[in-house]
Subunit: 207 residues, 2 copies
């Protein structure tokens, strides 16, 4: 399917751009400002060059389209964009594909941040798949560490793996809790709920 193919090539910043345009039509600089105001640049590195390039790629792919230009005073004219149906689908497909994966931490953070674009049941399923994969990975790390200790590998060569194992454990605990609360419908979910207010502290470190 061509849709899936397009979705495959989306970058995290591309997804965030499309998701932003679902709120309302905007011109590029406005998107930049909004993302930075919302601290989305903590979730994904956002530089001018990359952003404008991303927009033009999305346009060429037909995921967003111009709907007009305006100009204020003598400043450069601004092109307003809107998201196409293909773009809307692409976001949903991308989140679907990235939410269960445990490699690509950056894409997961974006997928999680945009997961409210999917119905609650789907998110529960996808996150459960992720939990299964994460559990396996965690066991691999624990076993690997135990083996290394048994073989007498010095601690200085194990620190990095120990950190990773600790973080995997923490993520599993968090994920268990989230899945449970989601499945129990402890809070509202989906596009039916209230819109995002302004200064929500954004994501985290890059990469």
């Amino acid at each position: 399917m061509s849709l899936k193919d397009l979705a495959c090539k989306l970058t995290p910043l591309g997804v965030m751009t499309l998701a932003l345009l679902r709120e309302r039509d905007m011109h590029p600089y406005e998107m930049l400002r909004l993302m930075r105001q919302r601290h989305h640049d903590k979730l994904v590195p956002i530089t001018n060059g990359t952003f404008y390039h991303t927009v033009s790629r999305l346009q060429k792919a037909g995921l967003l389209a111009e709907i007009g230009t305006d100009r204020e005073g003598n400043r450069p004219e601004r092109t307003t964009y809107t998201v196409t149906d293909a773009g809307t689908d692409a976001v949903v497909d991308w989140v679907h594909a990235e939410l269960p994966r445990i490699d690509h931490p950056l894409e997961f953070r974006v997928a999680l941040a945009e997961s409210h674009n999917l119905p609650r049941d789907a998110v529960v399923d996808l996150l459960s798949a992720r939990r299964a994969a994460l559990t396996g990975e965690h066991r691999l790390y624990r076993d690997g560490l135990e083996g290394a200790r048994a073989k007498g590998v010095p601690e200085q060569y194990r620190v990095q793996t120990e950190r990773q194992t600790a973080l995997l454990g923490a993520e599993l605990a968090w994920l268990d809790d989230l899945i449970e609360r989601l499945a129990a419908s402890e809070f509202s979910w989906g596009p039916d709920a209230e819109p995002e207010r302004e200064p929500v502290k954004g994501g985290s470190a890059n990469d």
Copy 2:
């Protein structure tokens, strides 16, 4: 200083390459094999194109140098490389620069994995600086979340930040423990200790 300038431009893969050459001289494909055997490709994404390109960059920068070529049968000839003094210094400088930083998770993982190239005291100091920065970031996230909750921002827009806050907490706990054990000299440290055995389970997810 030109050394610091060079260190600034090192990529994580470049650092791992130089660090590997400190063990012994090798030809590129051997480094590739070794890194993959040691699962260092879980710590940093390693593709052929990027790796060979990295090696040639390091060579142009004078951080590593050819020391000869050999050929086995009729196969393509292999160039053996060695790390220069500038290369050795560059690794140390880079780890020094990246170990205390809390943005750039990928570079931190590599810095941590190679931190045994620095003396124990230096690592304790650098990690303590990191802990301070991490504590501040953690507080920022907690405050941001509390503010968002108070303002009635729906949970679906907070999940990503909640995850990040949980992971920050886990990392802080792990770091506290590591610093304490390092400072108390609970295990050996530095190039004096035994060398790395073969299949130590490598790092973690990419990005």
